[in-house]
Symmetry: C2
Subunit: 337 residues, 2 copies
DNA sequence: CGACCTGGTGTTATCGCTAACATCACCGGC
DNA sequence: GCCGGTGATGTTAGCGATAACACCAGGTCG
């Protein structure tokens, strides 16, 4: 019975190719000063032995890994999940492995612990998806020296940050409702300590101000359909409410249900707009007009910003925003007259 | 200007504590033969220098990493996303880092490439979320010797596998509809090459067989609300359809919309049951009765199975299923008479 | 009372790689 | 024809851990 010998190492390849291990290393790292013929011999030997470089050994001597750490909340909220997925794909294409540290709640201690775990692994850089203020606060504890990019984080903090242009998306959504003829637009907001929610409130208000429309009180909710439903139950009772902009699609779903229950037809009696464009938004009743963020673009900007820091140590433009798109479906109509 | 010196290494700790680096290593690895007093001195030195062991060096000498590789599709489908999230959390709690390799499509080449990337990283084990047959096929290429667990994979393959008990969940959902008085139950199925979908078809059919109910033709769809809507448009036209079991909640959402458009009230005229219990299912119109899988349990079983293989090399019980729960809401009622 | 174990510690080799320097053949220029 | 430059390669010295073995004091036992 044959015992499987250990994996081939660089010296094994070198022996087979009749060169020194250093030459093998040069081939692997595309150094210029290797004769073409030698390079081919080495490559053949690599293939024959199914040799794969030992990353641990390389990391040990260079002091660098090809690993990026991501800290994210353990939630399946559509926005963060999409972002994470897009980032993993982008990083993978750039040859980086992504190590994900999930955190139950976005508080200071949990995030600090997750960051520490990543530092233990000696990641090349860290991405924190820090959509609310407690998460952003935790970043104050992170020691400098580790390249770090925040996604969806605090716009008022000076750390490198990539984010969807929430205000712009909200502005367009609101303006779309006003343009349809509504006198004003109500807003069902996400949790106040989430920057995404704050940015959307800001854009909504700016759009109302721009046309001197009355600014109704913000209806506070969390991100769930449940809270959207509760908000909708109130809004459905107020006859003057003809247009509602919801901070995400699930809130909009809850509002739709509440309207339906009280016999207020969407869009005939009330118009509704969401945010996120979840895949099923087109199959709400009625199909939902909403704002679609470009998660792939956010992921690419994030990776770019991080790699800039890794190589230069500094970065010139540490703040990037990505504009979302308004997707028009059937939940907006002129107000009843 | 001070130059930041490199991170503290084991020898630095040893020098400060007045011992050899080997003793430091022993303290770190909880070897028994260290005097209590020495242990404390070493620990103090570790703290003072903010020393953290170099994993690369450890991996190099031991030949093992504390990394688990996961291969998953780049999708935000609720089931796979929840599973991934739950697994990352479970692994993190067990002291393992998780490296996620996202794949655009679940075909043979992509999966093989992702597995290779993980092997390059010398992960301790690999988890493949392989919910359809093309993904399962790709696993045939994976060389033995790497501990590997499949989640949601092919029940007919002999590799270690953890999965939700789809058939059981579907059986209960269908039986619930029959018990409500429906003569038979129609089924809107997920893609035929997904094992989840196949298992749910099987459970549905078993429940009908058990009561000698007529087995109507399966209505084929993918997982999207869009295809559920198309299926619903057909079902809504057939007066004898009074109960529909959908392979997931988004399909159910599409069916609900189609029913609503044709004036067939749910649950008064038609009863609908879904699968997955997405967070917003309780806010569909009407709130959806559905089947809830226990993703956390699946994640724990998966991790356990993987670690068993890592340590023992073998495993006794390579197949584990986790039973889901029926969640009753308002989308089921007795048939109209 | 010397042989032998045993708990606590140090010394040395080693993992697989890259960086730095050494070597050597060959080239062109004065 | 000797010198310095250059391209291709080899040699050596680490990176920071663990493993294996060596060592030494002190206690046990025949």
């Amino acid at each position: 019975m044959e015992k499987t010998s250990r994996d081939a190492a660089m010296t094994d390849v070198a022996r087979l190719a009749g060169v020194s291990h250093q030459t093998v290393s040069r081939v692997l790292n595309n150094h210029p000063n290797v004769r073409e013929q030698t390079r081919l011999r080495v490559k053949a030997a690599i293939k024959e032995l199914d040799y794969r470089p030992n990353r641990a050994a390389r990391a040990l001597v260079t002091g660098k890994t090809q690993l990026i750490g991501v800290v994210a909340q353990n939630s399946t909220l559509y926005g963060p999940a999409s972002l994470l997925s897009a980032f993993e794909e982008a990083a993978g294409e750039a040859g980086f492995a992504v190590s994900v540290g999930r955190v139950k709640v976005l508080d200071r201690d949990s995030i600090a612990a997750a960051v520490e775990r990543h530092r233990d692994q000696r990641v090349a850089g860290i991405v924190v998806i820090a959509p609310n203020s407690s998460a952003a606060d935790a970043l104050a504890d992170v020691p400098a020296g580790v390249p770090l990019v925040t996604v969806d984080g605090d716009p008022d903090r000076s750390t490198p940050l990539v984010t969807v242009d929430q205000a712009k998306g909200a502005f367009e959504a609101t303006k779309h409702l006003i343009d349809a003829g509504h006198e004003t637009v109500w807003h069902v907001s996400g949790p106040a300590d989430w920057f995404d929610a704050a940015g959307r409130v800001e854009g909504w208000r700016a759009a109302l101000d721009a046309t001197s429309a009355e600014v109704p009180p913000v209806v506070a909710a969390d991100w769930s359909a449940a809270s959207g439903y509760r908000a909708g139950q109130m809004l459905a009772r107020m006859p003057e409410v003809t247009a509602v902009f919801c901070s995400n699609d699930h809130l909009a779903l809850g509002v739709l249900r509440a309207m339906s229950e009280r016999g207020r037809r969407v869009p005939h009696d009330v118009s509704v707009v969401g945010f996120d464009d979840v895949p099923e938004a087109a199959y709400f009743i009625p199909p939902l007009t909403t704002v679609r963020p470009d998660f792939a673009a956010v992921a690419h900007e994030t990776l770019g910003l991080l790699l800039e820091q890794v190589s230069d140590g500094e970065t010139t433009r540490p703040r990037r925003t990505v504009a979302p798109t308004l997707v028009k479906r059937d939940s907006v109509a002129p107000p009843p007259r």
